[in-house]
């Protein structure tokens, strides 16, 4: 299971949810840049207009292309005694939590997640580093099932 690429992909809706979130964040920025563009053109500061144009491109790319890459670079692997979570487009984080170190578990659902039937799993450990490991983009029923599995596992071990 350490092989590297035997990861379970996240739910496809996660890409849509990420994109929607990115758009919500990007919309006011794009609006701001557009206004800036019009103002600089009107007062004739063309150098500034030239800078703003690529900035706009960057924002649109970040909002449209980046969520897909984030989705594609994420994955998880549910083992018999551990969970592995892989994330990150530029900085790859590959984390393993043994179930035996999980203190408690949360399943969180934000408004956008709920719209797409998704949930985020939070595993809390006693560690100072990685005190909470989050796994977003799970189908709601999968997240609940994983929580039950992990909880079962913890209960069996601590008895």
């Amino acid at each position: 299971m350490e092989g590297g690429d035997l990861l379970t992909p996240l739910h496809p809706n996660h890409a849509k949810a990420l994109r929607l979130t990115a758009m919500v964040v990007a919309a006011p920025l794009v609006l701001g840049v557009l206004i800036g563009e019009m103002v600089t053109l009107a007062i004739g500061v063309y150098a500034a207009s030239l800078v703003l144009l690529p900035l706009m491109g960057l924002i649109v790319w970040a909002a449209l292309a980046l969520p897909w890459r984030r989705y594609a670079s994420s994955g998880y692997d549910m083992g018999t005694d551990r969970l592995r979570v892989v994330k990150g487009v530029f900085f790859r984080r590959d984390t393993i939590v043994p179930f035996g170190r999980v203190q408690h578990i949360d399943v969180h659902r934000g408004p956008i997640d709920r719209h797409y039937g998704l949930a985020t799993l939070h595993l809390h450990t006693a560690g100072t580093h990685n005190a909470t490991i989050t796994l977003p983009g799970l189908a709601e029923e999968d997240a609940l099932a994983m929580r039950e599995t992990i909880r079962e596992k913890i209960r069996r071990d601590s008895q």
């Binding site: 179930f99 560690g127 071990d157």
Partner: protein
Amino acid sequence: MSEALAPLDASLEPQHTHPRGLLVQALRGAAPSVVPLVAMAYGTGMFVWGMFIFVPVAAIIAASFGVAWVNWRRFTYCTGAEDIRVERGLFSRSARSVPYERIQDVSLEQKFLPRLLGLTEVRFETGAGGKDEITLSYLSHGEGERLRDLVRARKEGATVISAPDGAEGEEAESEAPPLFAMGPLRIVTFGLFQFSLVIFAVLFGAASQFDFLFPFEFWDWQSWYHLVEGQEQRIVGVGRMAQIVAIASGVALLLLLGVLTGIVVTVAREYGFRLDRTPKGFRRRRGLFNKTDVTLPAHRVQAAKIATGFLRARFGWHSLEFVSLAQDVGGSSHHAVAPFAKLDEIWPVARAAGIEPPGDALDWHLPSPVPWRDNTVLHGVFFAVLGIAAWAVTGNSWSLGAAALLIAGTALLNYFGWRRRRHASDVRQLFVAMGRFAPRLAIAPTVKFQSAEIVQGPLARKRGHATLHLGVAGDRLSIPGLPLAEARALRAAIIEQVAAVDFSRLPR
């Protein structure tokens, strides 16, 4: 409050903290306003009007007493059969109940003023990070000891120990040889290495606070000039040799003061240092004015850290700290269990916590030099471009020399950054060492790790290396510059150990 608990409540007498504690609380409440008031009166020359200053001071002290008295009246605690309960507050009452099983640690602390009055502060530490704890300030020393013994006894499910028994137990404990102790000579030696110029910061701070007390304007250079004026002829007159002697003796005085400060601070903190291995854990007592008595349960030790300084390493002095989630006095998550000791004194303490020293057969690994080499190239190119650009613009060839110097510097720093790190792992423990001239070593039993993470930046991914972070309760261990395959193998080996033992089954 649940109804089932009510009868218990009725059978128990809620108790107040010690009345003498009122004095401490009131003084503490009044001091911040009274001291500046008196100082101001003195400074502005109104001190002769003693009666006028006496009135507000008396009023503040009285008000402070009033507040302390109300708080004292409304603060009660009682020790029940299953929990300790504290009720407090005038308008909004809060009631907190902490079951004995949840109490991890009872610590007694005697600050200077309470100690004069024979009082002690009792703290019940419950959960992670010292939050939600109960503090009883202040109780008589005997009552503090009684509470600690009571909690210990209740946690074990034994019957209540009466106070005299507790005192006897204390005697017996003191007779057993300590795990580690520091005599006066050792503490003064320790102080010699704790050179500190903090006294000047304090004096400077005091000067800015109370500048109105000086007979001249402290921050106005002209008044200094006037002080020196007329002396300058004398200073010039005594000749160069005398000037050198004056400067040298000034520096010597500075050094002497620094050393003395270090000794005083160290003696005040470490006086009577004594570490015992009690059935409940590691009990540490130290302090001259603020006497502390802290017990760290042995099972809560997550890792050991051995450190030293550049100078003290030459003499073989090291310090040992235990990493844990329980907070030490002062909020640090590391417990100093042997602050100044030789290695052969440190290992028995570490062994008492189940931490073994690195064996001779241990296979130490250096990290891959690739990330540090890449860093050198990146920084080097940056400085070279900067230097050439500056040369092209200004035509000053000094900029090329400066760039060369910077490049050499970054190469050297990166080389040492690489060479100072080592790590090793037998199956049971992970060792991470840092530093050449003042080596530090962290030892963590692998079963105590909470999570393992491999992180790669964009460049690291291209070059095939990674950083391994291991989550520890109270700290983390990081090993940078591991080849990816090695990072994966090390993590797999560690997780195999970790997953085999549940958190609740960790050795206690």
